[in-house]
């Protein structure tokens, strides 16, 4: 848990108009702290929900039955994380629930990082995306165990173990593909090159997070970078893969600025729920 506030610095981005913005530097009152925590839980919940939605696309399409099972297992874990985090967010704002948050927000109101939403691609792209996100989540959840927010701290005690399993799965495949055949090596490198422009965003703090870091509730994303570089770098070394050096870096997911593929993803997620207004399921 990062206990010192770190300036958001050049990564601070102007927030989307739908957000609650408290003035930086002014101490949190309880209501403001709850609003910020709700927004933070929402962002982390969206990361899990959207990655779950993408991974679900592999069910019945994976390279083997074992992998079909492994990927849907991971997706189900992530769905569990999303449900806890979205429910907590709804509880803090005093309105709605996990379903109203998942099924009635617009694309511009989702707060996930862009890496979670990029399409599955081939198996190597999926594994590259898993490798990067699972390590990020594992480190983040590990650090959140020290959160001043008891609900977040309790949530991560179980979730961090699941993230560790997701890391192991992605690592094993990254190494198998990286050192397997020429074809799999080429594809794994291409997978890494595909996802790398989206990495910097994982470590960029927005204003909400910066305020919560000061309050001891959130983890400063930048503080996770060194451990993440070391863990993922070790895998790339074992896999004989080259660290990509992208010229472009994504931003904006936490402010609701998504990729073009996100609208169709959300349309599919929400279709039935929206077709039957007032329905209970």
């Amino acid at each position: 848990m990062a206990t010192e506030a770190t300036a958001a610095g050049d990564t601070a981005v102007v927030d989307a108009p739908v957000a609650d913005v408290a003035v930086e530097g002014i101490p949190h009152d309880t209501a403001a702290l709850e609003r910020d925590t709700a927004r933070y839980a929402l962002a982390l919940g969206d990361d899990a929900l959207i990655l779950c939605q993408r991974l679900s696309g592999w069910v019945t399409r994976a390279p083997s039955i074992e992998e079909d099972l492994a990927l849907s297992n991971i997706a189900l874990d992530l769905l569990g994380h999303a449900r806890t985090l979205l429910s907590y967010s709804a509880e803090l704002t005093g309105g709605g629930d996990e379903d109203s948050l998942a099924f009635t927000r617009t694309e511009r109101q989702f707060r996930n990082v862009l890496l979670a939403e990029i399409p599955n691609g081939d198996y190597a792209v999926t594994i590259a995306r898993q490798l990067c996100l699972a390590h990020h989540t594992r480190l983040l959840y590990t650090a959140l165990a020290g959160s001043a927010d008891p609900v977040l701290a309790a949530f991560v005690t179980k979730a961090v173990q699941e993230s560790a399993y997701h890391c192991t799965h992605a690592e094993q495949w990254a190494v198998r593909l990286g050192t397997g055949t020429e074809e799999s090596h080429r594809r794994m490198q291409a997978g890494l090159d595909r996802v790398w422009p989206y990495i910097a965003e994982l470590f960029a703090a927005d204003e909400v997070t910066a305020r919560l870091v000061a309050a001891g509730v959130a983890v400063d994303p930048a503080s996770l970078r060194a451990d993440w570089d070391a863990a993922v770098g070790a895998v790339l070394t074992r896999a004989g893969l080259t660290l990509p050096k992208p010229n472009w870096h994504s931003q904006g997911g936490r402010q609701g600025l998504h990729t073009e593929g996100f609208g169709p993803l959300i349309a599919e997620l929400q279709a039935v729920h929206r077709q039957y207004p007032g329905g209970t399921w």
């Binding site: 679900s56 019945t60 399409r61 099972l69 849907s72 999303a82 799999s184 039935v272 039957y276 007032g278």
Partner: protein
Amino acid sequence: MATAAAHPAPGSADGGMSAEAYEAAFEAAVAADERIEPRDWMPDAYRASLVRQIAQHAHSEIIGMQPEANWITRAPSLRRKAILMAKVQDEAGHGLYLYGAAETLGTSRDELLDKLHSGRQKYSSIFNYPTLTWADVGAIGWLVDGAAITNQVPLCRCSYGPYARAMVRVCKEESFHQRQGYELLLALSRGTAAQHEMAQDAVNRWWWPSLMMFGPPDNESAHSAQSMAWKIKRFSNDELRQRFVDICVPQAESLGLTLPDPDLRWNEESGHWDFGVIDWTEFQEVLKGNGPCNAQRITQRRTAHENGSWVREAAEAYARKHHSTPTAAGAETRKATV
């Protein structure tokens, strides 16, 4: 567990029995309701019949994931999404148990998948129907899993041990899925008018195909008599179908939904529900590969397999580089366990 002495494998230490003696020992074990185990002697036709049935059962679990997986990304609540994902995972697990059971008979999963992909082995005809609405997920749980359980519970006492044991595990999870399907339909039936209508429409479309899951009528069933003699099957197709109808009618009533059969009526004399005539022409067409989704289901399975070949090849190449040869690895394992 069959007593090994009753029907030893040829070539074993106490072998030397005549072919007739093996046959007689096998018949006696079946008659005594003993379990036949993989190392026991069994007639070639018994082995072939079991491979056919267990493989078809395994393929049905794997193909059967598709119509339901079609709705995972669109499930209308996160709770329902989690339930559906867990269910589809269970089906993959059932497929794996069953391929494992088939492998005890001297075949391999690769060989069986190859036969599925090339159309030489079948899967349940029910999975060639499309899932058109969310309510279909409930109808599949209630009716399709319900029919499967009715078929499979007697298989827990099937004469072949590995199959019987697989069925015990499968049936536990299947009955859980069936309750979930029923509960899903109940929520829709009691929901808004539009939800109720969606549920009724799904039941209308899945009822007859579910009755077809029990196979052709007894007088037209090619494998039935022999399977019953071998105690692979315990009840006839028509007996199980009647049992299923008798269970479903009151359940439909408590769901607040109707079954699409004008001839459905209680028969005081027989103590069963009489029901209308099944469209066996449709059944035969679907079995022949001419149902609405036959081509789609196999294409998706084959595409997944083909698209994944480079991944499986990479895993094999990696294993070759990092482990000793299979023989040497086997020797190490044995040494370690001595």
